[in-house]
């Protein structure tokens, strides 16, 4: 059995390749602004060849949440597949350097480590072209009582359902959680991902997933609702804990009869909105694993997201928790 940790993330392990582009570039590659498209290796090379000079850094939605959770001071572990190549080494280094317990060794063969071409336009919006590479080889065999252990929370991302053994390995993780008393959280990833896997997500939410973290568009895609009121009404039919972010409108926590409406914190300037949702999830789940009140969890999630949108890059830096606690002291 692994060391006990508070949070275990199971997700696509991706290195981001970030470059600035103009609107014409997005037209040329046929990418809708703000979209995330899965591409194959040949297309990845084609797009990379067209891109300007880039910067590389570890990314991936749930991986960002796990990194942020560790930087908040939580114990965390991670299951995701990289190859034994330089980008794989970079990804695993960046996780380990935060104290995250990386549970899979890099694969000796197979596809190269995944990369996401992040195309940042003049308005700061990001359009993503993702080559999943080694991620597609994450297998049921990688999700065992030995690799999972008994974390307080297992966090899965919707994108896992895009890989061949994804649905089966998610089911394996849920079964282990049930046996060990872990709670299962599901991040819905993006609304197109929800469209791709609505029935599977719905079945998982009805049976096995305890906590759903998502933005409002993703929840609406899952529940097929058309308005905020419609979504809130539909949520009453679920006994899961929903943590739903709404950008500048804040967030809503709904759990059975409990509904918490958490306002957003106004900021002078959004530097980079990337990772706001992942940071919210890190803060929210950190609070939850500390048995804080739901209102406090929502406040910490909001504090994390507010911090992240005022910096370049989507990961929570160390020291944030102390700032949060200080911000709550009466002056």
């Amino acid at each position: 059995m692994q060391n006990s940790v508070k949070l275990l993330g199971i997700s696509n392990a991706i290195v981001d390749v970030l470059a600035h582009v103009d609107a014409a570039f997005l037209d040329k590659i046929g990418a809708p602004k703000g979209s995330m498209t899965l591409i194959d290796e040949a297309r990845a090379h084609e797009i990379y060849d067209m891109m300007g000079p880039a910067t590389e850094m570890s990314g991936g939605s749930v991986a960002n949440t796990v990194a942020g959770f560790a930087n908040l001071g939580g114990t965390a572990a991670y299951i995701g597949k990289v190859k034994d190549d330089q980008l794989g080494e970079i990804f695993q280094h960046d996780m380990r350097s935060l104290g995250v317990d990386v549970r899979l060794a890099p694969a000796a063969d197979g596809s190269p480590t995944a990369r996401c071409h992040v195309l940042i336009d003049d308005e700061g919006q990001r359009t993503m072209q993702t080559y999943l590479g080694a991620c597609t080889e994450l297998a049921v065999a990688d999700v065992t009582p030995e690799t999972v252990g008994n974390p307080a929370v297992i966090l899965l991302e919707g994108y896992v359902w895009d890989i061949a053994e994804g649905p089966a390995l998610a089911a394996a993780a849920i079964a282990i959680a049930r046996a060990n008393g872990s709670r299962v959280a599901l991040s819905l990833s993006d609304s197109f991902c929800v469209e791709r896997h609505r029935d599977a997500f719905h079945a998982a939410v009805k049976d096995g997933v305890d906590i759903v973290v998502a933005d409002e568009d993703e929840v609406a895609a899952l529940l097929q609702t058309k308005s905020h009121a419609g979504t809130m009404a539909a949520l009453r039919g679920y006994d899961n804990l929903f943590a739903m972010t709404r950008s500048e409108k804040g967030s809503v926590i709904q759990w059975g009869e409990d509904v918490i409406e958490q306002p957003a914190t106004p900021v002078a300037k959004i530097v980079d909105s990337t990772g706001a949702g992942d940071a919210y999830t890190a803060g929210f789940l950190f609070g939850l694993t500390q048995n804080r009140a739901l209102k406090d969890c929502a406040e910490l999630g909001t504090y994390c997201a507010t911090r992240v949108i005022q910096q370049v890059g989507g990961r929570i830096e160390p020291g944030l928790l102390a700032d949060f606690e200080a911000s709550k002291k009466p002056t």
Copy 2:
């Protein structure tokens, strides 16, 4: 024969691995603040294992100058050795994406692509630990009339003398320049590098090198002078064109009887001083290859350096030349 370009850089091809550290970290690895130390592969792994999460981007002093020269609109080419690995692909991509003619194919075997661990402390100062890897395999055989062609200027960096065949390949480049009518510029890299190779640099400056680009500490190390006045007096004994940067004191261009003192442009806040010298060199050499007056070359170099210290990262962005020209128009 290669396409004719204005600038050919010959240097160490390096990917920077940037991470924030505290002062205790520098003590722990025994690195003097602000220093550049050459390390072997085992030590590189050791230091990387101790570092926090990092960001990767193409670097290297003369490579930065070549990239900046291309972004100013100049035609440029590059000779430097990477391996056929992911970091090598990143380095060559970043150069090619700027239109730089990359003249060596990645090596199929040998050491991995070089990386420089850039440790950024709380004051924003950078301490560098460099693993030269594939750079050490750059050979005389790579510097031929075919790979060099007949650029207006060949720019060598002092760090090339740190590699086994460096002195010989520099001599080969100088011989080709002489045959083809190219001018040879030498960047002195850093003052410790000058200490390591003073006699060789001195011989090259006396015979073969036309232009010396360096900061004042490096020139003082070369000439073994102790004061600005001493350096200026010693320079009169040389017929080379010296472009000497002096941080906030600006720069001095000395060429025979011509001495131009170019003041620095005051800035409200230095965001990141990295690459200021490389950017100055890009602007200065760009002006020179356009046959601009020396005063104008110094102004453009200063403009480039001033821009670069107000941004994160050491490379000149596109569009700078237009801003420079606009800044010179009478209002």
